[in-house]
Assembly symmetry: C2
Homo-oligomer: 250 residues x 2
């Protein structure tokens, strides 16, 4: 009797610093490759791990989600989780591992994601913040920035706030359920929650807020671009190190 294949869902945290992003690449260290290597040594099976989304080089994850299928292994989810962690560098950790129904798909079943973006706004960035926040020296008007960020809330065409707007024929309309800014001392944190994010969209929203703070983009331009993309406006991708994938919602 052939054992039935089982599908697993994992919640994964990683420090983006040492990796060339999530997505498998030749000759570069990626999170997906590390997970697949550890799966192979734990189970003997060569399987593909499908993430909820690709994170770029340097982007951190507090709770990325992924799925994979095992054809023959009989390890329990808990044992598998421990075996995977034992084989992974400590810059990647499996936080949770459960079996799921065959129809579950980490990417296609996802109903939304939450990102966090951290900015250290002071003359000096503390050493322990390096690689974990964007260091911005010029004082940011917090109320102003919060209001600009709020413009992105709701259902809009985010084509102008994505790195490859013309590459896909799929819709560039997304709904941002929440976008808010919290200040605590020198640390500004932007929380952005949406039903989906285009390529580099989270970092380009942050970039637009900072371009506005810098006088290089008006609120009217932002509003217009969200209604009818196409104008040649200043665009900025905020540095990867400040971005954290916080949660994937199903």
């Amino acid at each position: 009797v052939k054992a039935k294949a089982r599908r697993f869902k994992i919640i994964v945290a990683y420090d983006g610093g040492p990796f060339a992003g999530w997505q498998s690449q030749l000759h570069r260290k990626t999170v997906q490759d590390a997970l697949e290597a550890s799966l192979r040594s734990s189970t003997g099976e060569r399987v593909s791990v499908q993430g909820a989304g690709r994170t770029d080089t340097g982007v951190h994850a507090l709770a990325q989600c992924a799925h994979f299928e095992l054809a023959t292994s009989r390890l329990t989810a808990e044992t598998l989780s421990k075996a995977l962690n034992a084989g992974l560098p400590n810059s990647i950790r499996i936080l949770r591992c459960v079996t799921v129904r065959q129809s579950f798909h980490a990417r296609f079943s996802a109903r939304g994601k939450t990102y966090r973006y951290r900015i250290w706004n002071a003359e000096v960035q503390p050493p322990l913040e390096v690689g974990r926040s964007w260091h911005v020296r010029d004082p940011i008007e917090v109320r102003e920035a919060a209001q600009t960020l709020a413009l992105f809330r709701g259902k809009h065409d985010f084509a102008s706030f994505s790195a490859n707007p013309g590459q896909s024929r799929a819709t560039t309309v997304r709904t941002v359920a929440n976008a808010r800014l919290v200040k605590k001392g020198s640390l500004l944190t932007m929380h952005i929650e949406g039903d989906g994010f285009l390529y580099k969209m989270a970092r380009m929203i942050v970039g637009a807020v900072m371009l506005h703070a810098d006088g290089k983009l008006t609120r009217e331009q932002i509003v217009r671009e969200l209604e009818k993309p196409g104008a040649r406006i200043h665009r900025l991708v905020a540095p990867a190190a400040g971005l954290y994938l916080v949660r994937v919602r199903y």
Copy 2:
């Protein structure tokens, strides 16, 4: 007319990870060496930087204090601070630089220090905590640990809680003004404040608390050693990565 030498006090933060501690060493990267190299390139003067205390390899500092003297440079403290930061790796930052009276000495004028020790107490340590906390898997009884830690408060002979008790003929009596434990989720933080710390004393206090939690050291043994050192008790130096020099008091 020969310019009068000026003495400077600096507050320095550093990520202990990349350094072989504070103290200058041949062929190893240390914080003191990096500061002296940056001072030399900023001012042309070859000077020695005196820290309030030596931190070991991997120990972090949120606000270490140090002093040095410049014989000829006429840079203002503010310009000097910026020049030093420009020449330093971003794992070391000057947070403050002021001129002080000639009698000020970073080490001998210090009236006390505050350390923080972070323990991540859960099955899995999040990747962004690696190098920044001690990962302890076995559940720690927080009330118990807090009570054990409190034993170290007050004036005691800390000879048994230091790595080189017999090396110096100086007194091993110190006063710990405060020692308390705070729990927030999986993170346990010990705050230890004293008029002075023997070599590895902060990490050995943490080690003793954990040895007690592990059943390898009784409270009676700790109390006895603090009164009259000398018994052969279990000793443990907690890992460097969890330790932070928080403040030097003058």
